[in-house]
């Protein structure tokens, strides 16, 4: 499943406040591993994504998404479904 560039761009903007490493974000960036974001902060970030797109991303789904493009694909699928 391919994510749209617009969704990736918006997710990067939402993720930036959680990125204390200064690393440049890309679709392949692993949200937790590359940015040293702990599990609670990842859940907080996903809450921001949920509210931005007005969708629901259950924690069970969050645990299976690793990269920005993974998450963007989930967002696109759920926006379409909604």
């Amino acid at each position: 499943m391919t994510a749209s560039p617009e969704t990736i761009d918006q997710i990067c903007k939402l993720l930036e406040p959680f990125n204390s490493t200064g690393k440049v974000l890309s679709p392949d960036t692993e949200i937790s591993a590359d940015l040293n974001i702990d599990s609670v902060a990842v859940m907080d970030f996903v809450m921001e994504v949920e509210d931005h797109f007005d969708i629901e991303i259950p924690l069970n789904v969050v645990s299976e998404t690793h990269s920005i493009s993974d998450l963007a694909a989930v967002v696109d699928a759920r926006v379409k479904k909604a």
């Binding site: 702990d38 859940m43 259950p58």
Partner: protein
């Protein structure tokens, strides 16, 4: 070969940094426990202000006697689970007594409070259901939710409007819905706005569970917890609690009025596949709960002590976890290094508090967390305030 423990190297490095600054803040050894509020630590008599021993009941002579008698009569352990050979008359008596105390029809006792949440979440919800849990929920709630296989939706801490929004988003989906909140949140000491959540329940229709781990025995005119204090007990479907705080033992419970509640005994793996509580622990819990019912003065002392510590910290200008008085009083600190340094300084000065660091805390907070006991004297409370003034407030001002 990939070494399985390699992934924990960052934890080892973080722990080593902590050890380089003093003693092990996340594994401190109490060499001797002198009373509910005193221990010998590193050769020094220390005021305990981080034990969750809210009622100060751990050395109550009647509770100790009850434990000794039970051990002599029933033995040291049950050697089996509740669904095999591990249900003793004592377990049933405790469940009956606790149901009476809680004014609930049914009560099930677990071996630990952690298992109570694992059992209740996984027994109530299944893969077709959805659990909505407060973002600041205790790890046992998160773990229980994961064990259930239910869809998990997290709502913003203590925000009934946010819950309303997320329930609306999931409208029309299959399965039942369980909402989980806590009476007092263990890190910051704030209470759930239960009346607001009950209003959302009336709008959407779901089953509501309150984890009263830190509020059972503590809040409410009868000591039944936050639901008792807020006057909304009839709207709370399920209560979870623990014996390891106000009851001064170890164990946990789930309670409710649902006609199928007893069926949970055969649907909760953390209840079915572990040994039941030891006779001594059950007997001390039973004795303590009987005392909580008839000794409201313990709650009065706890409230007075909590109010005194809260006012003292306010007077020092400390940044606290919340604006309401509860027995959990947390002080926010600037960063991990200074928090560890202050924790060590407090210990050296003779007071033990909890250190709480991310990711175990909400919003990446670094906390020095106090829990107040009914057994503290005003003199103890004043000493704790004075030491925080010397160690914490002075550093914040510097």
């Amino acid at each position: 070969m990939i070494d399985l423990l390699d992934k924990h190297k960052p934890i080892a490095e973080r722990h080593a940094r902590m050890m380089a600054m003093g003693v092990n803040a996340v594994g401190l050894t109490n060499d001797k426990i002198l009373s509910p509020t005193r221990a010998m630590i590193n050769g020094r008599e220390t005021i305990l202000a981080g034990t969750n021993n809210y009622m100060g009941i751990t050395f109550d002579p009647d509770c100790i006697k009850a434990g000794q008698v039970a051990m002599a009569e029933f033995g040291t352990g049950t050697t089996g689970s509740r669904i095999a050979n591990g249900s003793y008359a004592l377990h049933k008596e405790l469940e009956t007594e606790l149901a009476k105390f809680l004014k609930r029809k049914h009560c099930i006792v677990f071996t630990t409070g952690y298992q109570a949440n694992l059992g209740m979440m996984s027994g109530l919800a299944g893969p077709k259901d959805t659990i909505f849990l407060d973002a600041d929920s205790h790890s046992s709630i998160y773990d229980g939710c994961t064990l259930s296989g239910a869809k998990l939706v997290r709502f913003r801490h203590n925000d009934a409007t946010d819950l309303d929004k997320r329930l609306t988003r999931s409208e029309g989906e299959e399965g039942g819905r369980l909402v989980v909140v806590e009476g007092i949140y263990s890190m910051l000491g704030d209470r759930a706005p239960l009346a607001d959540f009950v209003a959302v329940k009336k709008k959407h229709g779901f089953q509501l569970l309150a984890d009263e781990a830190h509020s059972f025995g503590v809040l409410g005119p009868h000591g039944r917890g936050l639901a008792d204090e807020a006057g909304v007990e009839d709207d709370i479907d399920f209560i979870v609690g623990t014996f390891s705080k106000s009851v001064g033992a170890i164990g946990g419970f789930g309670a409710g009025n649902h006609p199928l509640f007893e069926t949970l005994r055969y649907a909760m793996r953390p209840y079915m596949f572990t040994a039941s509580s030891s006779p001594a622990s059950i007997a001390t819990s039973l004795a303590a709960i009987k005392k909580l019912a008839v000794e409201p003065e313990r709650r009065d002392r706890l409230r007075a002590n909590s109010a005194r510590l809260f006012a003292g910290f306010k007077g020092l200008g400390l940044d606290m976890g919340c604006d309401t008085v509860s027995p959990v009083i947390a002080v926010k600190c600037a960063d991990e290094v200074s928090t560890i340094a202050m924790w060590n300084a407090l210990l050296e000065a003779g007071v033990y508090v909890n250190i709480a660091l991310p990711p175990g805390t909400p919003s990446k907070l670094c906390l020095l967390r106090c829990s107040v006991s009914a057994a503290h004297s005003f003199d103890d409370i004043d000493k704790i305030i004075a030491l925080f003034g010397k160690v914490v407030a002075s550093r914040a001002a510097a």
